[in-house]
Amino acid sequence: MNITLHVWRQKDAKSKGRFVKYEADDISPDMSFLEMLDVVNERLVLEGEEPIAVDHDCREGICGTCGVVINGRAHGPRERTTVCQLHMRSFRDGDAIWIEPWRAKAFPVIKDLIVDRGALDRIIAAGGFISAPTGSASDANAIPVPKENADLAMDAAACIGCGACVAACRNASAMLFTSAKVAQLGLLPQGQPERYIRVKKMVAQMDLESFGNCTNHGDCEAVCPKAVSVDNIARLNRDFIKSTLIADRRVAVGVEGAG
């Protein structure tokens, strides 16, 4: 199949970018989207041109490294699918495909289609963990966990941090990401001691990173390759309200001092 690509090319963070048109001929429908880009890049290298810079790692849909906006949709046209798991058979011969990086102030472009998602890492670092003494692992069944909570926590923990939710959000909000990271711990017993200080810290860091503000559209969930639910956003909101209204101040001070 023959495809026309319009790819965002940007030399570095400071340069001004632009779309460049490439004709990708003789593409197999069995190639993944990234394999198609590999072929295009090999041809570019042979012609002595700079290959298209694109983020990728595991190519199994579990690492969260790849991610571009394809024809206006984060991760392309298929639901619950990362770019690496998207195949060219999802397109038609002769299609024009526009490829753009995630667009958000919090995600500055490093080069071409690669953006800096360090903002998401800093939200995690602000509180997306539990403080546990080191030592031998405790017995797995020592702490009872309700089955429903285990399932919901697992669903939230499926987030691979790719940033598609931010890219698809009309407001460039990171609420789905942050809420998944808040909820996966808040639903489990191990996450309870820091639950209310965690949500405050992570929301404060999210605000600091100049993301936009959630207005409950739900486009984030629709493009999420792991279908992380917006129910987690309600969980974050609930914990945030509780942390302000009824969380005990002295407990919060204690945890903050220890952390």
Binding site: H6, V69, K105, G212, N213, T215, V253
Partner: protein
Amino acid sequence: MESSAISVAVGASAAKRGGYVGAFYGSTVGKKVVMAVTGVILVLFVIGHMIGNLQIYLGAESLNHYAELLRELGHGGLIWVVRGGLLAAVVLHIWSATALTLGSWAARPIGYRRRQQWQESTYASRTMRWGGPILFLFIVYHLLHLTTGTVHGDFVVGDVYHNVIAGFSIWWVSAIYIVAQFALGLHLYHGVWSMLQTLGLSHASYNRLRMGFAIFVTFIVVAGNISIPLAVLTGAVS
């Protein structure tokens, strides 16, 4: 990078500086909660207002007596308490919306070349920021029209029934009210669901009822209100 700081002062240390209210409202989630709480107040008012309006079908005496009752409750003081509360809710609602909107607009300085494909968002959710200002203009018009009578050609102080009939008999006045009710409907449809989400009212056992609840509230308010200009125009009420 300017935002590379990770250690954010929250909780007690932030409270020492800005106070708990400041720390809460300073965050984006806090502003959204303010929008939701003021939204609840305004939705309740709109429902009550609609039910009050329906008394037009009971006749002139009934409606005028109800209006007089509202004006005289608490020796004429209660209406000003309610008006003050509503004004505060409207101001906080608009203030928070503006702050959140400006933040969101700044969060994507370079947009997408290809128009984004919306998956889940609705026409209602995408037009909240247009619907708000439209409703504000309508409320100003509505107050000048049926509360103060400033823009009403045939206003009689105290005769609410007459003022409504005379006002809605002009077709374009009714048209403004009907169009405004559709704008209100769109705002309510997304707003009611959205405020439940923002207040954290979400659970698997009732989540599928939330959209139905939003549609129900929207429908009764819009249908109840629109019925009045329609009834006047068709001569069902005169």
